[in-house]
Symmetry: C2
Subunit: 451 residues, 2 copies
């Protein structure tokens, strides 16, 4: 039994009281909105068969899967040749299960396994951790949460609009205002590829466009020309990117091809969104947005904070083929994902967490004697019954020690019970920040906190 | 890329919409109570270093740990001798991490790593899955949730009382009435061991007592006598077990030794509980309750359902030494654990889940045309803004198809939007069970659901 100081595996984290409370605050707001929007929860196991996971995330992804060693005498099922063939081969002999790498593949597996019981359209949400054996670095962890919502089996533009409103409602609830929802459409990007003469190289073209923020306009133009793109046309496209008036962008792409599916959907999307202009939606058509195009086939989303230097905090889009990897074709849908860690970082940087979230208690009850403590048991239970978060200092230590504890745990209020208070039923409620204190009966205390 | 029908690893489960909603209902009630009682949340990583986990759960436990294969070319760090030494040895060379086996060891690790930042008494709760490579069978899974609450660094009897009230509040909130909270005390059990002449064999004596339900009184007497216990005295102890009047039991054990720590604490515990006799507490002193005595050192709890044949649904007790395994002594505390799966099974058997929990929606909006659908977008958002769970059928399919969908997803209400409804602003709210329908404006619909 090792008695050396214990530690955490690299790239993993404990979430202590304060951080955990803040994370719960975000998760709850997301979950409440998912539920109000009619999404049902799905939970899948942390472990999946490697046959489910392998080959779904590319070669690099396969290497980043955490694999679980088979139980028991796993070597007995291997031969000398298996050992000689090296780690990669041996793994297939001594490991059958891996940890969930994302929430999409388990969702697809669930849909395939339950296809006869699911009524489409099917709206599911899933909020669970995933694991990746990535090299840990700032902001990149080996265990992190994903918060996904998908609508499958429906093609109406309302899906696209609805998920935009969902982003808006979640960030409203979080009081996070400084963000923009960027949208684009795969087919519009492909139209631009066509325009510069790269119809057959649309994906590499998009990959270059995606680098615009990182490498700058001139370098992108150079790369697109190197791909075989027309120099004048790519200059035109760059000018398109710099237009800020949304209506003007739509008009311009309509001029390129009014019958393009992407152009039509973008138009319809904004027409439907217009109904909600009272909501102060922060949606921006960004023709240079080019993400996940090996998967997404329609509208794509990205949410970016505007006052904090950081990458996207949400993403998503419409896809054609969720379950093809498992041999079930024709399941299309649209999904979004909230990046919990990054949303947390933005909220922290902008000090958006309500004070109450980080306070473990509303009130700590302190007392002067065993008898006061016993009386306090009734008081604490009455206050808890009203929904307040209240604790009773559990032993009759010196009052100074109790107040020291109150300071350490940063309770905003203490309630002091002495013999006089016991008799009158009016307890001293003390604001620990201002020092102000007032005698109050239980019902008045409840009123004070519950309004 | 395998296209064979995917499956789940043995002993693991998907939780689809209905089951997940029911599980969330239980977890939320437990969590809300933990928070009201002043417990702060802790979350620890799924993966722990094997040096943290190994040796903490006995030899059998070590074998039940899920171990994670090191990433990359793990064989390169092994020798031929390592391979020859067999699976058990090789594991130490190719695996450094394992999956969380319970929530207690990670909590102890957290306390040791953060001992300088923690203010005692420290109340933490933790609700997370754990993994055990057990042979799967009915009711036993390889992934399951634990819901733990612990108070460390405090010895007052209020802790024991408070956790009893917490059990009571949680089951009140779940509307689960048919249960009993059984309590006992390690020192009282040891007193009984002493009484039958087995002072030095108290633990084996308790192990026999623990079998009472399974093997019956006669067999237990036989075994205790075989251990060297006095036949007459063990008969006396058996008579003690059969007393149902609580006060009488307390009097009897006081007669054995009024100065016994366990006797005194049990007395004090019931004296304090008496203050809450308005709460209809279902607490029973059961001198034959003997659980986890290699860990617990004071009062022990077990909650059992009374109208469903099933083992305990909660357990817990006071312990002396949480963190000794990591070289930090003197951290004592008391903790309880809610068995989510078993509580779920009891609630299912007694049909205690509120109907609303298993309905994914309050209302599904259906419509007759594209124009009605577009109008419905505003209506659905207005109803969601009021906190209702509402969905809008997303495409203008035939109304019959929309109602079929409404039936399949078992929405309790539909809201029908046609041209007349659009004009009047009064939509037809249809009770899908009774077929009754009434025209209502949005504010009246909200009132109907929100009361």
């Amino acid at each position: 039994m090792s008695k050396s100081k214990p530690s955490l595996p690299r790239g993993t984290r404990d979430f202590g009281p304060e951080v955990s409370a803040k994370r719960s605050f975000i998760i709850e707001k997301i979950k409440q909105n998912f539920i109000r929007y009619g999404f049902s929860q799905l939970e899948t196991p942390a472990m999946e068969n490697l046959s489910t996971l392998t080959g779904k995330y590319g070669d690099e992804g396969d290497q980043l899967l955490f694999k679980i060693l088979n139980s028991g005498d796993y070597l007995s099922k291997t031969s000398e040749d298996d050992i000689k063939a090296g780690s990669k081969h041996l793994t297939t002999k001594i490991s059958e299960k891996g940890l969930r790498y994302d929430l999409t593949v388990p969702f697809a597996r669930f849909v395939v396994m339950n296809q006869n019981d699911i009524s489409f359209p099917f709206k599911r949400f899933q909020i669970q951790p995933v694991w990746r054996a990535d090299r840990p670095q700032k902001g990149r962890y080996r265990e992190f949460y994903q918060c996904d919502a998908d609508i499958i089996g429906s093609n109406g533009i309302w899906n696209e609009v609805e998920l935009t409103l969902l982003f808006n409602d979640v960030f409203d609830d979080l009081k996070l205002k400084d963000y923009v929802i960027k949208v684009n459409h795969r087919d519009v990007l492909f139209l631009l590829a066509d325009h510069v003469g790269l119809k057959e190289k649309a994906i590499p073209f998009c990959a270059e466009i995606d680098k615009l923020d990182k490498i700058g306009k001139e370098k992108v133009i150079e790369n697109v020309v190197a791909l075989g793109g027309d120099n004048n046309k790519i200059q035109e496209v760059m000018e398109l990117f710099s237009i800020s008036d949304q209506q003007e962008i739509v008009t311009k792409i309509e001029e390129l091809d009014p019958e393009n599916k992407g152009v039509k959907e973008i138009k319809l999307y904004f027409e439907n969104l217009d109904q909600f202009n009272n909501k102060n939606l922060q949606v921006e058509l960004d023709l240079s947005l080019a993400r996940g195009l090996s998967y997404y086939t329609g509208l794509i989303y990205e949410v970016k904070p505007t006052s904090v230097k950081m990458g996207s905090i949400c993403g998503g889009g419409r896809y054609d083929n969720l379950t093809g990897v498992f041999g079930l074709n024709g399941i299309s849908g649209i999904g979004i994902s909230f990046g919990l860690d990054r949303i947390y970082d933005v909220m922290e940087e902008l000090s958006l967490f309500p004070e109450q979230v980080t306070q473990p208690l509303d009130i700590l009850i302190v007392h002067f004697s065993e008898e006061n403590l016993k009386h306090g048991q009734k008081v604490v239970m009455d206050l808890r019954a009203a929904g307040l978060r209240v604790d009773l200092y559990p032993t009759s230590d010196k009052i100074k020690k109790q107040f020291n504890y109150a300071d350490k745990i940063q309770t905003p209020f203490t309630l002091i019970i002495g013999d006089n208070e016991m008799e009158s039923g009016e307890y001293m409620l003390k604001n620990m920040q201002s020092g102000e204190q007032n005698p109050m009966k239980v019902d008045k205390i409840i009123q004070h906190f519950k309004g």
